[in-house]
């Protein structure tokens, strides 16, 4: 049953009509037109849909939209822009840290959450933090180098 839900996404308030059990990913992509977070499994297993809830990384695909009402959600679109890029975005471009890009948005958000909590993680910590994000094209090492670069 649809109801009015108040969301805060990338610093802006939105009121959406949605069933509260609808996934946050579905609402972000199909109600708010924020397409950067991607669907990979819908099961919370691959991390392609990772966004920030306040400062913590969550899988939007298995987060009911009702559960994030009133709390700040950040997507890739809110992480940084061409005019004001996040250091991770600059680093990902420098390292050419992707191929197909399907896992990229999720990785950037997961890495952003890590850096908010630990500004200078070592390599083992970076790999551990990103373990929940799957990549099939095999750019893992480039991503790790990019995260390290963004910390400097």
């Amino acid at each position: 049953m649809s109801e009015g839900i108040d969301l805060i996404v990338n610093g802006r308030p939105h009121r959406v009509q949605a069933a509260p059990e609808r996934s946050l990913l579905d609402v972000l992509r199909n109600e708010l037109g924020l397409k950067a977070a991607r669907l990979g499994c819908g099961l919370g297993q691959c991390g392609a849909c990772t966004v920030l809830l306040r400062d913590r990384a969550i899988n939007a695909c298995d987060t009911p939209v009702g559960s994030v009402a009133g709390q700040p959600v950040t997507t890739l679109e809110g992480l940084g822009t061409r005019e004001a890029p996040h250091p991770l975005q600059t680093a990902f471009i420098d390292e050419q840290a992707l191929q197909c890009g399907w896992c990229t948005s999720g990785l950037l958000m997961r890495a952003a959450a890590l850096l908010r909590q630990e500004p200078h993680p070592d390599e083992a910590r970076i790999r551990q933090a990103l373990e929940g994000n799957l990549c099939r094209c095999g750019v893992h090492n480039r991503v790790v180098r990019a995260v390290q670069k963004a910390c400097r």
Partner: protein, 715 residues
């Protein structure tokens, strides 16, 4: 250049205007039939054109491939894009450049040698001419003259270092994948099907299910055709609910004969087989009796494609015309089979490529295009978007075929390879659409009346083969026999997966060579070099990887269970050369520590892109080799998500060092698949080095190694 040396794509599409045109703004538009799969080919082709025309890469517009205006280059596969499309674009651009030089010279009455191309503009005498001024329809109508390519390109080498523009777009969340398209009036659909190719649907269950589905809020239509069940809705949420109900309904009945995981070789051999001897090389003089003979068998189970994204398509019917947006690897092949499936003339079907997630072989993109087109007939002319769920993706996408490879090898009294027989048992590695008289689309086999299921086949050996890819080892030996047994049973669909037969064939050959070398007390690297006197480029990549890895100088701080191994192959024996060294530790399971890779791709078009593909291929091969095997049952594929089909993750991926042997005067070779076989082989050989025993059947999981240790099988 002789006709035989012309790229295929040029022979099929000889006119300049099929490849290059001038845009309304005076820039250059380049056309290709090769599609972007995330591998960076679009950028590589852009760099080729920019280089030949002395343009900044961003001044070259790569036109999105569609059947309406792109040259038909069949499928983007086989690591052939730079070889076919790239070579053709290079020749086309050289022709365009020289034709414009000639015209500028003519207009000014100066010798052509005095005309200078600089900054993308021609200077002749005191005049300056742009492409827009010099190029006309008559010029574009000319056949491309490959002789124009003799002159060295003029472009600036540093352009090769420029990053891919799509990478920036993806990092800023600006990139539009097919899955992000939302044409006006779009509705959504889902198709449900049995888990096996042939099944029955219980009519009473279907009637009951249809009632439940139609009662769901948001469901617009429920349709059935044969074994296919389709649901139309306005929202993804409604489709999710319908998927849960269908999953519980247990609608289809069908069972297939599949082997248990440790029974794969026997199963493969016991099926009906089509046997062919591919190589039967005998020396003129009879050989002395072999001094020593080795025999071993290697193999793997079925692999799942398992891209991070899901297959998706948008289809729309307008009267009798079908428009499809797809991330297929072959837009013309898909068009051909959609026309067959829907009984349309080909020119009534239009396929436009849009980007999907990474594609590593024949995935479900073509099947989803059929599903969308089939369901869109019920959408009253609205565009219909259809995306497989993760479970559907894992259940329905073609698998990489299982393989068994037996090798018998003999050496002479000097320890030189004397005779070698490599025998392969595997299904065909191809059920791609567009190559037969009936459609090779999953849904077309499941409607009523169904089109026949097309059995998996292998490409001819001269086209690179299938199961037999790289079954011919690269080493010099007087007697060689290569036999392929094509398994003529397909309980679950199989098709091409990155490197095809090379993954197992190279593992097998390189394991055998390594075992022979060790038995004879020879260094595995030197033994290989000794058997490659005829192939200087092979020796060069082996020397390069040896230098990179410090081969022969193992690290002083080696932990317990440490091992190092080497693997080498020339992809398809006509493609890129690649050698890999792996350092690993065998603890409870295999932990990869470091990979070193040396590759010779001829003239490298985009070095960073090539490195990305080589490393990516190696990591994927490592995942297949250590982790992956589809879990099968009589009722279909059981491994349906990332928990039941785990792949290598961030904490398991080793550091990788890569050296490219750049040969600017040699033809460019594709990078996408050359590291697969050598990586599997290097891992196998490193495990052998670590444990003192040979594991032969992938994946080399902790269980597999435990069983190999228990069944201790001394050389």
């Amino acid at each position: 250049m002789s006709d035989a040396a012309l790229p295929d794509s040029l022979r099929k599409h000889p006119r300049l205007g099929q490849w290059l045109q001038v845009s309304a703004q005076g820039g250059i538009r380049a056309f290709t039939g090769k599609v972007e799969l995330g591998q960076g080919i679009t950028h590589a082709l852009r760099l080729i054109v920019a280089e030949e025309l002395d343009l900044e890469p961003q001044q070259v517009e790569m036109v999105r491939p569609t059947t309406a205006h792109s040259p038909d280059e069949a499928v983007t596969s086989g690591s052939l894009s730079v070889q076919h499309s790239g070579a053709t674009l290079r020749l086309a651009a050289a022709h365009l450049r020289e034709a414009c030089r000639d015209r500028a010279a003519q207009w000014c009455g100066v010798p052509r040698d005095s005309v200078v191309l600089e900054g993308g503009v021609f200077r002749a005498g005191t005049s300056r001419y742009t492409w827009a001024e010099l190029v006309d329809a008559a010029m574009l109508d000319e056949p491309i003259d490959p002789a124009q390519a003799g002159s060295r390109p003029i472009g600036i080498p540093s352009h090769r270092e420029q990053g891919r523009p799509d990478i920036e777009q993806k990092v800023f969340g600006e990139f539009t994948y097919l899955h992000d398209l939302s044409p006006a009036g779009m509705c959504r659909g889902q198709v449900f099907r049995p888990a096996v190719l042939q099944a029955t649907m219980d009519d009473a269950s279907w009637e009951a299910l249809a009632l439940r589905l139609r009662a769901l809020p948001g469901i617009v239509k429920v349709v059935r055709d044969g074994l296919l069940l389709g649901v139309l809705a306005e929202s993804a949420h409604a489709l999710e609910r319908s998927a849960r109900i269908v999953a519980q309904a247990d609608l289809w009945r069908g069972e297939v004969d599949v082997p248990a995981p440790d029974d794969v070789p026997r199963w493969l051999r016991s099926q009906p087989l089509e046997t062919a001897t591919l190589v039967d090389r005998r020396p003129e003089a009879p050989l002395p009796a072999a001094t020593r003979v080795w025999q071993a068998e290697f193999g793997r189970g079925w692999l799942q494609h398992a891209s991070i994204g899901l297959c998706c398509a948008i289809a729309q019917w307008t009267g009798g015309t079908l428009q499809v947006w797809s991330h297929t690897q072959g837009i013309f092949n898909l068009r051909r089979d959609l026309a067959l499936a829907f009984r349309l003339p080909e020119d009534a079907v239009h396929v436009c490529h849009a980007d999907g997630a990474g594609c590593y072989g024949h995935n479900g993109a073509d099947d989803v295009a059929f599903d969308a087109a089939w369901l869109a007939r019920h959408a009253d002319g609205r565009p219909l978007r259809l995306e497989w769920t993760r479970q559907q993706e894992m259940a329905s996408a073609p698998m990489g075929p299982a393989m068994a490879v037996a090798i018998e090898a003999a050496v002479d009294a000097q320890g030189r390879l004397q005779a070698w027989k490599q025998e392969v048992w595997s299904q065909g590695h191809g059920t791609r659409p567009g190559r037969d008289t009936t459609p090779a689309l999953l849904g077309a086999w499941q409607v009523e009346p169904p089109f026949p299921i097309t059995m998996a086949v292998n490409a001819a050996p001269h086209s690179g083969g299938g199961a037999d890819r790289n079954a011919t080892p690269p080493y010099a030996m007087p007697r060689l026999e290569v036999v392929n047994h094509r398994v003529l049973a397909m309980p679950l669909r199989v098709s091409a997966l990155r490197s095809l037969g090379a993954h197992v064939n190279v593992l097998a050959a390189e394991s055998m060579v390594d075992d022979i070398a060790r038995s004879l007390g020879r260094d595995p690297l030197q033994y290989r070099l000794d058997h490659l006197p005829h192939d200087e480029r092979a020796r060069a990549v082996l020397a390069e990887v040896a230098s990179l890895s410090g081969w022969g100088r193992p690290p002083g701080d080696r932990p317990e269970g440490w091992g190092r191994g080497i693997g080498f192959a020339r992809y398809k024996n006509t493609g890129a050369w690649c050698a890999v060294v792996v350092d690993l530790v065998v603890e409870a399971e295999v932990r990869l520590r470091q990979l070193w890779i040396a590759a010779d791709l001829g003239r490298v078009v985009h070095p960073d892109g090539a490195r990305n593909q080589i490393e990516g291929g190696a990591i994927q091969a490592a995942s297949w080799t250590l982790r992956e095997s589809a879990h099968l049952s009589a009722r279909g594929i059981v491994s349906s998500d990332w928990e039941s089909y785990p792949i290598l993750g961030f904490t398991e991926v080793p550091a990788v060092g890569i050296a490219l042997v750049d040969r600017p005067d040699c033809p460019s070779l594709g990078a996408g698949e050359c590291s697969i076989g050598p990586t599997a082989a290097a891992i196998g050989n490193a495990i052998r080095d670590a444990l003192g025993l040979r594991a032969r059947h992938m994946p080399f999981t902790a269980d597999t190694l435990m069983r190999a240790v228990q069944a201790q099988d001394p050389d």
